[in-house]
């Protein structure tokens, strides 16, 4: 097996066991660029696997379309000179050896599974840009010091399943969860060529990775509305959920005078507004949402006796989340007292702790954007990503590019080709900068 090293602007290194051959057209590493058209073409090609009649992306994890999409991705990885394997969790890993094959890898990637009726950029861009980076290095005969690993995590949309396996937090219980494919996660892993009984083999330990990087669409409208090209992600916000139950008294909507009602929905409406007021009443980028509401018995001619609703709070600071929750509970108590209802809050399992990215890597990403002449801003990620798991075992960085109209999880999700290329170039230059970093 031959390895080609091509490093300009540094003295040619002679390393034992590595054959060295100069390449005719020499490009400085900082001048390496991705191919925008290739990324865009592959976004369209990948979107064919699982496309619904309405144009949306139906490539949910563990579906036949997922398998087909993964085969397509593995073929691209091989074109990019990567050595492809599927780990015990079903994650695809394409590896490119470095000058120091025993050294820690730089890993980067994302996912290709979608929510039902999703779009074609969420996850897909991160995977295709990662392969593009590998391919650019391959085509230019560049060998990095560190091994590079392109990873495609399984079932991101089902709860970061692939990255949980990599960091060792995918529990046996989680394997029993039924997914949109109809299969349990355990069955799905087997379906993709993994082995749920040997998940430990998929695990990576602290120190094995020099860095983890993920490029992703913003899924919000901040970058686009401000005309900023690159988001340097400060961290993935923590998420906490509460189930709130409002108990009043169901009664006949015709015979119960207004002043004798214990209308659970009227109290719930006040609480929905209070959640918004508490959240917007404090400066910061935290968000709070009531996404689900159910009134019982739910007939037009019966005063609702019980309402159940959810409250979700997200912020980079767990302290802020729980302080907002305390304020909302206080409002709930006031509303319950005024409306002669009972309001109970139940904190739900399955939240996520805030996952800050690595400050040093944020600096490298920012510098890469700057050198590429791209505008950037530091910002939180309001959505969850595999990067938040990876941050627990490796210094992690995340790069955002604009989502048109902030639309995501929808067939209308769109990121312009130039923005995809910008993000991929920042990823490429960040990889190269991190790779060289140790030499300084």
């Amino acid at each position: 097996m031959k390895r080609y090293i091509f490093l300009i602007s540094v003295p040619i290194l002679l390393i034992a066991g590595v054959a060295l051959r100069p390449v005719p057209a020499q490009t400085a590493l900082e001048d390496l660029r991705v191919d925008p058209e290739r990324i865009e073409r592959r976004i369209h090609e990948l979107s064919e696997f699982g496309r619904n009649p309405d144009g949306s992306n139906g490539r949910v994890a563990f579906s036949d379309a997922d398998v087909q999409g993964r085969e397509y991705i593995m073929s691209l990885m091989r074109q990019a000179g990567l050595a492809v394997r599927v780990d015990a969790a079903g994650n695809i890993i394409g590896r490119r050896e470095g000058l120091d094959p025993e050294g820690p890898s730089i890993m980067f990637g994302s996912h290709i599974d979608a929510v039902p009726h999703g779009g074609n950029y969420d996850g897909d861009l991160g995977v295709l840009a990662a392969i593009e980076c590998a391919q650019v290095l391959h085509e230019n005969g560049v060998t990095t010091r560190h091994p590079l690993e392109v990873i495609v995590f399984i079932d991101e949309e089902g709860g970061l399943t692939g990255s949980r396996a990599v960091i060792g937090t995918l529990t046996p219980d989680a394997l029993e969860v039924v997914t949109h494919s109809g299969k349990t996660i355990g069955e799905g892993i087997r379906f993709l060529g993994g082995d749920p009984d040997r998940l430990d083999e998929a695990r990576r330990r602290e120190g094995e990775l020099k860095a983890f990087l993920e490029l992703h669409i913003e899924q919000g409208g901040s970058l686009e509305s401000q005309g900023i090209q690159i988001g340097v992600v400060e961290g993935i916000v923590g998420i906490e959920h509460w189930k709130v139950t409002i108990d009043g008294m169901a009664n006949h909507a015709g015979t119960t005078p207004m002043d004798q009602r214990h209308d659970a929905l009227l109290a719930a409406a006040r609480l929905v507004i209070a959640v918004n007021e508490v959240v917007t009443g404090r400066p910061g980028r935290h968000v709070g949402t009531v996404g689900q509401i159910r009134a019982e018995p739910g007939a037009p001619n019966v005063i609702p006796g019980r309402v159940a609703m959810t409250i979700e709070l997200r912020d980079l600071s767990a302290e802020t989340i729980f302080s907002l929750a305390a304020d909302i509970r206080e409002e709930g108590e006031r509303i319950a007292g005024e409306s002669a209802t009972q309001i109970s809050f139940s904190h739900l399992e399955g939240g996520a702790v805030p996952a800050p990215t690595d400050p040093r890597i944020r600096g490298v990403i920012a510098k890469a954007a700057e050198r590429l002449g791209l505008s950037y801003q530091h910002m939180p990620s309001g959505a969850g990503h595999d990067a938040q798991d990876m941050a627990r075992i490796a210094p992690t960085g995340m790069i955002f590019v604009p989502s048109v109209g902030g639309i995501s999880h929808s067939p209308n999700e769109y990121t312009r080709p130039e923005d995809m290329a910008n993000g991929a170039n920042v990823l490429l230059q960040t990889i190269l900068a991190l790779d060289r970093e140790a030499e300084n």
Copy 2:
């Protein structure tokens, strides 16, 4: 066939073809009283037909339990000396001839079908009290001038089906409606011994009835909370429904900043409160209810993009209903403007126009209560009743008795035996007063 006439305090009348026999223990008509224990016992006996394991009443229209309950009721009618028939709509009619068999009848009754998981007083009391009145007259050998007809309407809870047939507004389309029994109304009528092809035979025309009377539990808490024994119903309120759709934009609850949201549920919550404020902000006994709400897509981590909800308004004045609706629409426009959502109101078919009772009969009921030493108040009926249909073809009166805690359509529905007896005595004395009225 013999008929016994017993009229004290008026000269004995000799009428051709009627054998006359004085009865030993003579009671003045105004001293006639129902038997409280018999009513209460029969309430319990009737409740056995269709009782659910949880104690609630499952005797929905057209069920086997409905048939059994009706057989029990017909046996009571026969004990009370009534001539029993089932009309083409399946309504049970027990007739007692008057001195003038060709004259208009005084009709009174209610229904014995229940909502699923209902109580044992709604309807049942009105039927058993009506039979009790007939039985008291029978036992005391009283023959009235007017024929008396005790009626048990079918499927009141399904939309006043029996009384609609009697007034001729039960349409062929309505016969296709599937009921809680699993049968269509047409099939149900046949199941009860009626003939949906000959509904016209069940019809009664204006002038055929001297009066229609219905005794019913209040189903609200006004009488009980004020300690008043009898409600003289001024009319059955009109009911109008609207479906309201609030369109915002569904989006990711994590990535969409608070100031970029078009949260349909937040706007809906404001509208729920506005409905309450408009309704309670104007003096009167009108009521307004939001009983049904649905947020889409309805996930904890997605900002609701669309909310659908119902608004129901009830009042004795249609003008008030539509004026409240206009105020609510205005509030809706304001909220839509402020929240960058669209709010559309759609008026639904199937409402009910207000049905005032007959002022003269209200006076007779009030006087009967007064003579019985019972406290009373004039009040609207917030619930629908067969009386509202009957008011379109006959002078109609309605008597309410207290519901403990205002609870109805629930196994916890309860009316005290003394209140049942009070109501039945008012019904009896109202019948007798109306019967004598023409003589004045």
